[in-house]
Symmetry: C2
Subunit: 151 residues, 2 copies
């Protein structure tokens, strides 16, 4: 008999969605969503990114990312500049206030991570990171299957 609550997709989605929901609730007071936080954290690590890079990292559609950056510009957290040698590409950076908020929320995210993996051995955490990347990559196979079913 199939046991739903022991299946990897169920366990993965349950833990992942709950983790995201908890952190989303934590950053609500900053008027930020989870993808917005990811934009700030990603720009803190690597300034001057393009829309397409940020869309990939934060796992949102390019059109959604474009609107999201508009909101973050309005809120004074990021700037958007055309590159001098490429009219079609914009470079996105944190403002001073954006850096301040990013640092504050990264500190909070590190606390969430610390609690979530508190009971795990260091080797297990490394293993988990590897396994989550492996599974994410294999989901490409399922996505291709779906696309060929729709054709």
């Amino acid at each position: 008999m199939y046991e739903l609550t022991k299946s990897i997709p169920y366990l993965l989605n349950r833990a992942g969605v709950r983790m995201g929901a908890l952190f989303s609730r934590r950053i609500e007071q900053f008027n930020l969503t989870l993808p917005m936080y990811r934009v700030l954290a990603s720009l803190r690590e690597q300034p001057g990114q393009k829309l397409s890079d940020l869309a990939e990292t934060t796992v949102v559609e390019l059109s959604t990312m474009s609107r999201m950056i508009g909101t973050l510009v309005t809120n004074g957290l990021v700037t958007r500049e055309r590159l001098p040698n490429n009219e079609r590409t914009v470079s996105i950076n944190l403002t001073k206030e954006g850096i301040r908020i990013a640092d504050l929320l990264i500190k909070e995210a590190m606390h969430y991570e610390e609690v979530a993996v508190r009971n795990l051995a260091t080797a297990d955490i490394e293993k988990l990171r590897f396994l989550l990347n492996e599974i994410h990559d294999l989901l490409d196979v399922l996505e291709s299957e779906q696309e060929s079913l729709l054709q």
Copy 2:
């Protein structure tokens, strides 16, 4: 420097949400959502469950579960009966059509799982199951923290 894309919350949410989104899209043609599928799969394993059991397994609020069961009753997939010795509790079961759909989708879910863990050793899959349960349980700590912040 903090690396967002190596953090466990990021990797966990990214893989979990993508897994859920892919399977949700797969079952759209049956007019079912992911929590509805979970209800069917859970009743296939354990018939005669209460609303509260199903709400816990499928990770939705009790009020949402009550509405969802209403929809599944209307669609002819489950039945809802009051227990003779307890007027306030209902027992939920699959109809014959509900069993047919559950079996079909469980087969599909098993395929998704098989693909997702295709590259992993059996011991790693066991390990992952353990780690995902551990993390999910530790998220209770973060939830309690949030509740005390709100008080």
